[in-house]
């Protein structure tokens, strides 16, 4: 046990206690503690094992810069990868260490560390080469060894929601500079979003005993701004992404997590500066911590991390730590690895200022000595003793001489501060190296982004610290640069030796900075070592690019509560409940609609249900719900001109109440959509389109109307798909069925011809009835105000009993339309075929002055040879339907085309677009696109079929693309 609780922690409520469990050990804590402070107070030194070598590791920092203390939370929220230093303790919490078994203290894989000479950085690039076949076995083992934490067995939900907001200014950070920036912006009248990842404002001031007045003033500012309506303060909110145009994405923690996407004109980054550790041999032992963290634990949480402290380093953080520790009663030594005039820089480069030991340099030593600190000026750490935790260190003088041994149990490493610039770098900001202050500073900010405070380098004094990475012995001893990924200084030297010069390459080769902490305490040190080894200024080496998110964010949080059914809301019709109640199997079809595929009776197979439904339509009458159809009303004096432009067919000569099949083409002459267009009156038209294309056609019509039609403002396009429920009764008895429920219209063939529209009352509801047919049978499409749909459906259903009415789904529809050779989007209309290919030349009026696609079509007709043309296929081997998408291959010369042949090495001349078993014909039929197909009726062709893992073929005969009622007599009757 080394850590213990002292009085006076400012951030905890010492009067109450909470209990939690870590690796089976019961620990006590106070409200306000983080998991890390509670573990330290309970004397837990080892919180996990390192990534590669399974070395025991302890807590190093006090915030997001922590590289070691990842724990697995079992209760209340089962989640891996929880950072102990930023997670508040909750009563009854259960935690486990990660990457260690059975516990962090006693890990079975600890022996791996003995093999460390064989496991340097990048060892996996040189091993596991042979035998190649053994890789799957290696991978299994490696996967078990790697990885931090376990995913819970059951799905864990972070309750979340999303918020989008616009502000004039976003200020990230609630330290001194952040508060000033927020106050400034608010005073200027801007709307401000003030984001901070702490539960209360204060930033670094919360952990520092230095300046209580500044903290009080900051709290007062926060109170004042809270009272202003224009400032939205977001505590416990971490800004994780800064993207173009001032987009800031933030994770606000709470009972419900909120994912904020904030759009701001100006972003002010007051993200502070992180303390850097020094790199020395043995610096990864549990007990080696950041000086500011030691101070923070003492001041904020009332936790002493040990009894005998060694402060190693220089600067404000070192002095603060030494003084505060003395106040708490620890015995404190301070080793300062600089010496006036001594060799301090391994490059032997520019001389440092103040080498003559001026009064300024001596002042901190005097203050410390007065407080009872033993100062060792000019000493560095040569070795750290104690494997399970620091027991003692050996100090060696930089100028040479006798070593000193100290018995200590905590080492506070103070290497100076460096601005925290993840968001700045994400947005593409450019940084530079300030040699005097030994830190990265922002140089060129992207538009709309500014950096203030310690993040800009303010308050980081030019202290003549030696390059903190330039201490002797770091390449011979085991001096860790990146604790998260077990990267030592020797590894970086290895990378440089192997020829990697760019910091991005060194990063990827050694995995420096690729851990969960994103190299916050490692990156700058690593870059400095690279600079020293290459002999170049550190400005030239630069820093690696930061990418979002700045901290790990669960996917659930980003989804913001949009999970499961909410991801893609499904569209339903007024009849959907009836379909479900009658056993329909629903499928998702285009544009998020859920439609019935077929209605199996109890005990029926799919094939049986399909046959029953198809026969009903061909022999009696069927009813289906066609509401997802895209429907539009186009009105106005310019409506006719718009439709003449949009359709390849003629529209102007339609009489009121008459319609025709219409094709919409793209500019290149290919088919965009097919549907019907009806004239309702002189300046009003009704259009239908394929259900999956409804939204696309809407955009297309608007584009034509607004961009291409002169005077397009005199036409109006209104999508009315959801306004009308569309029911279709089709089959020989459709007329009789409808007659029994309809009044106000004569349904006979003479009075109500094919492709006409009538208005009537169906089951008491005013409706528009169109005589159009998709199935090829006598068909009436009844359009009703949407909410009345069920009433009419049920009336038709009741009336339909005597006619043997069946409800039919999309599968039956598919069979019926293939038998008729009608087109369907996604099958024949594949984006490549044009109307001439599909045999629809009759629907294209090339003598019209202008319509979209006219020129493209004319060019294709004149110049293209061997275009794929729509044909029908019938198998010659009596087998079942072909696979949709199967390729067509020419039968070789001299063969009669009746046996199966291998498919390899032959050129494809087309493919099958649709393939079904036709009940009317009693065998399988298909539609296909075949090169020069129209001149090949009667010929044989081979159709590919899957055979094991390869392809074989089946013989087929090419025929005309329809298999039932070619003249369309039935549907026109």
């Amino acid at each position: 046990m080394s850590g213990w609780r002292i009085a006076g922690g400012t951030g905890i409520d010492a009067s109450r206690t909470v209990a939690f469990e870590f690796d089976g050990m019961r620990c006590a804590a106070h409200p306000g503690d983080t998991v890390a402070s509670a573990l330290l107070a309970s004397g837990v030194r080892i919180v996990g094992r390192s990534f590669k070598y399974h070395r025991p590791r302890g807590i190093v920092g006090i915030g997001w810069e922590e590289p070691n203390a990842l724990v697995q939370c079992l209760h209340p929220l089962a989640a891996p990868g929880v950072l102990a230093t930023t997670t508040p303790v909750v009563d009854g919490m259960r935690l486990r260490s990660v990457h260690a078994w059975p516990s962090a203290r006693h890990d079975l894989l600890a022996f791996l560390d003995a093999f460390h000479p064989l496991l340097p950085a990048g060892f996996y690039y040189k091993t596991f080469m042979a035998p190649q076949g053994a890789w799957p076995a290696y991978e299994k083992v490696i996967r078990r060894l790697a990885g931090l934490g376990r995913l819970p067995a059951t799905r864990v939900r972070y309750p979340g929601r999303r918020r989008n907001a616009w502000f004039d200014v976003v200020v990230v950070g609630a330290g001194g500079a952040g508060a000033a920036a927020a106050a400034r912006a608010a005073a200027a009248g801007s709307t401000v979003a003030w984001v901070d990842d702490g539960a209360e404002p204060g930033g670094r001031l919360l952990g520092s005993p230095h300046d209580p007045q500044a903290l009080a003033a900051l709290r007062e500012t926060a109170r004042r701004l809270d009272a202003m309506g224009t400032v939205t303060r977001l505590p416990a909110t971490h800004a994780v992404t800064l993207a173009d145009h001032g987009m800031v994405a933030c994770w606000q923690r709470g009972e419900i997590h909120t994912w904020w996407r904030i759009q701001a004109r100006e972003v002010v980054l007051a993200t502070g500066a992180i303390e850097r550790p020094l790199v020395f041999p043995g610096n990864d032992r549990p007990g080696v911590m950041l000086a500011s963290a030691v101070t923070g634990y003492l001041h904020r949480y009332g936790v002493a991390c040990g009894r005998r402290l060694l402060v190693f380093g220089r600067g404000h953080d070192a002095l603060d730590c030494a003084l505060r520790a003395r106040v708490a009663g620890l015995s404190v030594d301070w080793a300062d690895p600089t010496e006036p005039g001594g060799p301090v820089d391994m490059r032997d480069a520019n001389s440092l200022a103040d080498r003559d030991g001026s009064a300024d340099q001596r002042a901190p030593y005097e203050r410390a000595a007065q407080a009872g600190v033993t100062v060792h000026a000019g000493f560095t750490i040569a070795a750290v003793h104690g494997r399970a935790g620091v027991r003692g260190v050996d100090l060696a003088p930089l100028a040479g001489g006798a070593r000193r041994s100290l018995a200590v149990d905590v080492v506070a490493s103070a290497g100076g501060r460096t601005p925290s610039l993840q968001l700045f770098l994400q947005a593409g900001g450019r940084t530079g190296w300030d040699d005097a202050r030994r830190c990265v500073v922002p140089r060129e900010a992207p538009a709309g982004v500014s950096v203030v405070g310690a993040a800009a380098g303010d308050g980081i004094s030019a202290v003549p610290v030696p390059t903190p990475w330039a201490l002797p012995g770091i390449f011979t001893g085991r001096a860790f640069v990146d604790l998260a990924n077990d990267v030592t200084a020797a590894d970086i030297a290895l990378a440089v030796r192997e020829g990697y010069r760019s910091i991005e390459h060194v990063k990827r080769y050694t995995t420096l900075g690729m851990g969960v902490d994103q190299g916050r305490t490692a990156g700058v040190n690593g870059a400095g070592i690279v600079a020293g080894l290459l002999g170049v200024p550190q400005d030239q080496v630069g820093v690696t690019r930061a990418r979002p998110p700045a901290i790990p964010v669960p996917f659930d949080v980003v989804a913001g509560g949009e999970a499961g059914d909410l991801v893609r809301p499904v569209r339903r019709t007024a009849i959907t409940d009836w379909h479900l109640a009658h056993g329909a199997v629903m499928v998702e079809s285009g544009a998020n609609w859920r439609r019935p595929a077929y209605y199996p009776r109890p005990g029926e197979t799919f094939k049986q249900a399909l046959e029953r439904e198809c026969r009903a339509v061909r022999e009696r009458v069927g009813l289906y719900d066609s509401t997802p159809l895209g429907k539009f009303e186009v009105a106005g004096p310019a409506a006719e001109r718009l439709l003449e432009l949009a359709y390849a067919n003629r529209v102007a000569d339609l009489a009121p109440g008459r319609g025709r099949y219409g094709l919409m083409l793209r500019d290149d002459g290919r088919l965009l959509d097919d549907g019907v267009v009806f004239r309702l009156d002189a300046s009003r038209f009704w259009l239908t389109t394929t259900s999956g294309n409804a939204d696309l056609v809407h955009g297309w019509l608007e584009q034509l109307r607004q961009l291409r039609l002169a005077g397009g403002d005199e036409a109006l396009v209104t999508p009315v798909g959801a306004q009308w429920t569309t029911l279709v009764a089709c089959g020989p008895s459709a007329r009789s069925l409808l007659a029994g429920c309809t009044e106000g219209v004569d349904l006979s063939a003479q009075a109500f011809p094919f492709m006409a529209m009538r208005e009537a009352r169906v089951a008491g509801v005013q409706a528009r009835i169109f005589r159009v047919s998709f199935t090829g049978e006598l068909s009436f499409e009844v359009n009703l105000p949407a909410r009345q749909g069920v009433r009419v459906w049920e009336a038709l259903w009741a009336e339909g009993r005597r006619y043997g009415l069946e409800a039919i789904g999309s599968e039956a529809n598919h069979v019926l339309r293939v038998e008729k050779g009608f087109l369907s989007l996604g099958h024949e209309v594949d984006g490549i075929a044009n109307p001439l290919d599909l045999g629809l030349g009759w629907a294209v009026k090339l003598d019209k002055p202008a319509f979209v696609g006219r020129q493209g079509l004319m060019r294709a007709a004149q110049s293209d040879d061997g275009r794929p043309q729509l044909v029908g296929l019938v198998p010659r081997d009596g087998g079942g339907p072909f696979e949709e998408g199967a390729q067509l291959l020419r039968v070789p010369e001299g063969s009669d085309g009746s046996e199966a042949r291998p498919a390899v090495g032959r050129r494809s001349v087309g493919f099958v677009t649709a393939s079904v078993h036709s009940h009317v014909r009693g065998h399988a039929v298909a539609l296909a696109l075949l090169e020069d197909g129209r001149s090949r009726h009667g010929e044989s062709v081979d159709v590919t079929v899957q055979a094991g893992t390869g392809l074989s073929t089946r013989p087929a005969t090419v025929c005309a693309p329809f298999f039932h009622d070619p003249q369309g007599k039935v549907m026109r009757g």
């Binding site: 173009d244 145009h245 500019d667 607004q706 291409r708 039609l709 005077g711 202008a850 319509f851 696609g853």
Partner: protein, 108 residues
Amino acid sequence: MMRIPCPWCGERAESEFTSGGEAFVPPDGADGASQACLAGDAPGPRAFAPDTWAERLYGRDNRYDAVTEWWWHAHGCRQWLVAERDPVSHRWLRVRPAIEAPGSGDGS
């Protein structure tokens, strides 16, 4: 996420819009398009006679400085806009409705 100044709706987020690409003169039905493509200071779509059909159909200028683009405010007023934009800095130089109805906003 750009903010696009819709002349009807004011500044709206980019996610409300669908891009219609660089303005061009389509081969068919171009009388309205020629009007819509003229946006003022930015150079309009190429007026040259392209050599090939593919160029005529698909060729675009793709400039670094101001481009004339078509944008559709799909999740807003559903109006098409003709915009001049600097593709490097994403600054919107001029936005106006494509359809010049009487009383339509100028958008500049």
